[in-house]
Assembly symmetry: C2
Homo-oligomer: 251 residues x 2
């Protein structure tokens, strides 16, 4: 880690020569703080220890300074979150629209969005309540609109669908992130262990008074069936089928 820092400091910027006197321990030539380095550190902390581990103070420590130094480069923690999301969303590629397969394309983009959140554990938590105004998010929107258009979906329905889909995917991602953190000692990044929690949940539902909860008790199995992917696949199937069904009434 410290090794990588030193390398970079030789690559970037004007060369800074440092004379190390014989006895003196080779003090790490402190690299200048930049927005990019702050974002790098934030993503690293998130990936390793989850969203809650990212604070202005932990960030500063990771960058080997005090928290106050960060404020010369970012306005506040919210801006850090925004920047992290911008960086991440650049990874998503939306395919050119194919009118024959617009619905499968739509579902695939939603799958890719969830995969993106999963690939960057903690990022979903940062996305809560964020208005997606970064270039990456806008590119994704443009792509989604193009696919909807190719599918003959009305503009109003397409536009609102972007909202709906983003809300759904991020909600699922946040849920997963929190479960993972709760089922602790699991390293963040892996998919949450649905089966373990579901087993408990199922037992709880079955133990409910059948008179008051006839359906929940009898359907406990089906309610806790499937892993995260199964449920997500159902979710995006509902969304896209619903969009098709509703499109004409929102012209």
């Amino acid at each position: 880690m410290a090794e990588r820092k030193r390398e970079k400091s030789w690559q970037a910027g004007p060369v800074r020569i440092r004379v190390t006197l014989p006895g003196e321990p080779a003090a790490a030539p402190k690299e200048r703080l930049t927005v990019d380095r702050i974002v790098d550190a934030a993503m690293g902390l998130m990936a390793e220890q989850g969203y809650d581990a990212v604070s202005m103070r932990s960030l500063a420590k990771a960058l080997d300074t005090g928290p106050a130094s960060l404020y010369a480069h970012v306005a506040n923690k919210e801006e850090v979150d925004q920047l992290v999301l911008d960086r991440i969303s650049a990874e998503l590629v939306v395919p050119a629209p194919d009118p024959e397969h617009w619905d499968e394309q739509l579902r695939q983009v939603l799958r890719d969005m969830l995969a993106l959140y999963r690939r960057h554990p903690g990022s979903a938590r940062a996305a809560i309540g964020m208005i997606p105004s970064g270039m990456g998010a806008l590119r994704t929107m443009e792509g989604l609109l193009a696919i909807c258009d190719a599918g003959g979906i009305s503009p109003q329905a397409s536009a609102w669908f972007c909202d709906l889909a983003a809300a759904y995917v991020s909600a699922i991602a946040v849920e997963e992130a929190i479960w993972m953190q709760r089922a602790n000692s699991t390293p963040p990044g892996a998919e949450p262990d649905h089966t373990a929690i579901d087993e408990q949940l199922r037992a709880m539902m079955e133990a409910l008074p059948a008179a008051e909860f006839p359906l929940v008790t009898s359907m406990a199995g089906v309610m806790t069936a499937g892993d995260g992917d199964d449920r997500f696949e159902f979710g995006i199937a509902v969304l896209v089928a619903g969009l098709r069904a509703v499109s004409d009434t929102y012209r």
Copy 2:
């Protein structure tokens, strides 16, 4: 407030007689701490100042004790959130299923869920990542399953739809709550001022390079159209129509 406390302390529990010596200032006879009073205080703080204003410390201050005292009645902050949600969810009434109007009934329950979150500002934030295991949430599930069943929806689709719907509604509610808090000085509780934010967002989209963002720029108007209710109405229309369309493939 101190007045109300004194009243209650005379009503409930064994009578406690307090002799006040002439010169002594009439010290408020401190009411015993209970889980209910903690939940009351939490809901009050949330309603008045939003979710972030509820901390174990602010809660303790509102109850006129130190934070440590709370831990005799609740395990931690998460349990407080859980208890608040349990309390709130008891307010939701799910109608008896009417096979003729199952889809409208479903949409109405989702509307009521959002209304519930709005009526208790901050509650949506508490719901993030919470597994709905309280009695209120389970009753709501039972009701939703009954309506789906009346509509001929397959059990697997019904079960997963409960998840999907809950995720969507709470995501919207959280979004609204955060926007409201950001558009500060607005008292929590009212609907967020969509028009103001959307005007800005629309201008931003229209200012984008048209070559790279042909659809976003040309559809800026339609993308920012409608208030929260319009968008939510679209969302639940998509959800319910999608459920109908997809039901048979999930048997």
